[in-house]
């Protein structure tokens, strides 16, 4: 397979808070190839947004990328090496802050933000904001950038774009603002767009329109996407490959059909069962039991074990990595669950865990790796 557009290897991002270290992203690896839509799925708090911002090196204090490697088209967005004194330090070939700002953010990788209501600046016109980003990232002059902005607003389905160009964000509905955010990303002509739950704040009809729009535009421009969502329905609709995140880790990774029809991780199964589908009544929906623990103090062993219906004693002890458990047409299907034979840690012989009363914070303890 060709060199991927983006490769993320064992990325770790942590927040150093007064309460302790929050391991928001804890060693995730995935790839994005040219023209692909890759899903990043998980419940609220799984670390999806932190992972997205890490890719642009825009983690906010007190957060910091503490390990791993991010490579974009052969360039190192993030990478560490061991210095002569044994301390980890940033690699020389890592892009500087200026290079990230001038060459990567916006022009190579653009983000569609999660919150359409807060993401636009209230005191500038919609068109002005769009124009500024176009000028900056495509090096166009003011007039050209203005024309391009109007064109882009039209493209994302905003009626009377030439007039609405001069309006302020508060004059736009939530769906319209989301379209503006999408227009911003597309207008900069990046090769990769990270869409952080761009449809969550919208109602279903608008969501449908926007997904269709993205599909069309993706076909037209061939842009790659990382599509962040907690909605399996959206994943099924637009993604080519999917990464399922749980508590800072990717616990299953597969092409979309395999994920849905040959699910390998109990958490993914639970997510799918909790998803409304036409062939199921509301009573048949099974919400995932319990809530996701805090990333500040994750459960020992498999982080999903307090909520997993298949959990056995061994799951409390062994922390499974995201291993290849199957292959479909040469594409690996990875899952982090000791049920699978590749782990060979004695799952079959282990005793099932009693249905514990639900704990929200996991038992403290080391992880074996």
């Amino acid at each position: 397979m060709a060199e991927p557009l983006l490769r993320v290897d064992n990325l770790k991002t942590q927040f150093f808070t007064d309460a302790g270290t929050v391991r928001a992203v804890d060693g995730i690896s995935f790839e994005v190839h040219e023209g692909e839509i890759v899903g990043l799925v998980g419940e609220s708090g799984a670390g999806k947004s932190v992972a997205s911002m890490s890719l642009l090196r825009l983690v906010e204090s007190p957060g910091e990328i503490v390990g791993g490697e991010i490579t974009y088209r052969g360039e190192t967005i993030f990478g560490l090496e061991e210095g002569p004194d044994g301390e980890l330090r940033e690699r020389d070939d890592m892009l500087s802050n200026e290079e990230m700002r001038d060459r990567i953010r916006g022009n190579e990788i653009a983000v569609i933000f999660q919150d359409p209501m807060e993401s636009l600046n209230p005191v500038f016109t919609v068109g002005g904001q769009l124009r500024e980003f176009i000028e900056l990232n495509r090096g166009l002059g003011e007039d050209e950038a203005r024309e391009e902005s109007v064109e882009m607003l039209r493209e994302v389905g905003i009626p009377d774009p030439a007039e609405r160009y001069h309006e302020y964000p508060h004059q736009f509905s939530g769906g319209m603002r989301q379209r503006v955010l999408i227009a911003m990303a597309l207008a900069c002509e990046p090769n990769l767009i990270i869409a952080d739950e761009p449809t969550t704040a919208l109602d279903v009809t608008v969501e449908g329109q926007i997904l269709e729009l993205v599909d069309d535009l993706q076909a037209k421009y061939g842009t790659s996407f990382i599509w962040v969502t907690h909605d399996m329905g959206v994943v099924a609709e637009i993604c080519d490959r999917v990464n399922v995140m749980y508590l800072g880790e990717i616990i299953e990774q597969a092409p979309v059909d395999e994920l849905f029809h040959d699910t390998k991780h109990p958490y993914t199964t639970a997510l799918l069962n909790s998803m409304p589908r036409p062939d199921r009544t509301v009573e048949e929906l099974e919400p995932i039991r319990g809530v996701m623990p805090e990333a500040i103090n994750p459960p020992s062993g498999c982080r999903f074990h307090p909520r997993c219906p298949d959990a056995r004693e061994v799951c409390k002890r062994v922390h499974p990595g995201n291993e290849v458990v199957d292959r479909a047409d040469g594409t690996p299907h990875r899952a982090a669950c000791v049920k699978h034979d590749v782990f060979d840690v004695g799952y079959d012989e282990s005793v099932p865990l009693e249905e514990e009363p639900q704990v929200t914070a996991g038992t403290p303890g080391g992880e074996d790796r």
Partner: protein, 332 residues
Amino acid sequence: MGLLRYTIVRLIQAIPVLIGITVITFILANVAPGDPVRLMLQGQEVDQELIDRIERQYGLDRPLHERYVAYMTNLLQGDLGYSIHRDRPVTELIIQRSGPTLMLVLSAYAFALATAIPLGILAATRRNEPADHVSRIVALVGVSTPSFWIGIMLILIFAIQLGVLPSSGLVYPWWGPEHYGYSGYVELLFQTIRHLLLPMIALGTLQMATLMRVERTQMIESLQGEYVKLARAYGVPERTILRKHAFQVAQLPIITIVGLNLSTALGGAVLIEYVFNINGLGRLLLEAIIGLDYQLIMGITVVIGTMFVVGVIITDISYAYVDPRVTYGDRD
């Protein structure tokens, strides 16, 4: 033309407020203890007939509401009455004395804004670093020190100890260089600033301190806004984010505070004019109060009240101008 209509609506809304000001000052001035005629005659033994005659002459024998209507009729013609003590029309006195007060208050605001905004931004971007701590102390001292005391200290240090700046009076540029015997406009400007410096700082420090803290808080909040994250994600340089994206949003509350503090500033001006011997409205008011010069007290109160109302309207309008989210009643 939403903004123009908004301006007109705001001006119309100010009319009842201004009428209210005149009613209240009128009643207060007329029910206050002390008989103006006897006070004017300064304890001379006179017969009742003379007193009645004087009262008739000034219309003091008529019922209150008639006197109010007469007062308002004159006021609308620009006649604020007659100062018995000074033997001059009130309007003339006020016009003469407004210049210094306006000059003082406006320069104090200019000083406050010119220092508070950069210092507030500095404190916001260097949060919990030495610059922030210093600004916090300056603000605390500024808020808790009375302006007249600051004035006295400034006089002690710069006028008496160092002898570099004058301690009293102002130079009014509109009187021209010849009036002061200056060589030309350059010297006139120089002297104007030299005289204005201490009272301006004394009056402006409180405003500076409040505005600086507000600026800091607003900038911190604004810098954490999603729109700032968005700008960063699109490669906007940090300098532009600070100067444009975060700054514009953070200025909105500053405008409001400036308007609200206008009353404190006008009140402070009374004391500062006293400390620095400035012949402004504030001193005129103090002297009028001490002398129970009713017509003058009322005239000044009405004028200061009007200045305040106009100030608040200007604030509202500039807010509407800067913040597009302000709706002007209905939109067209």
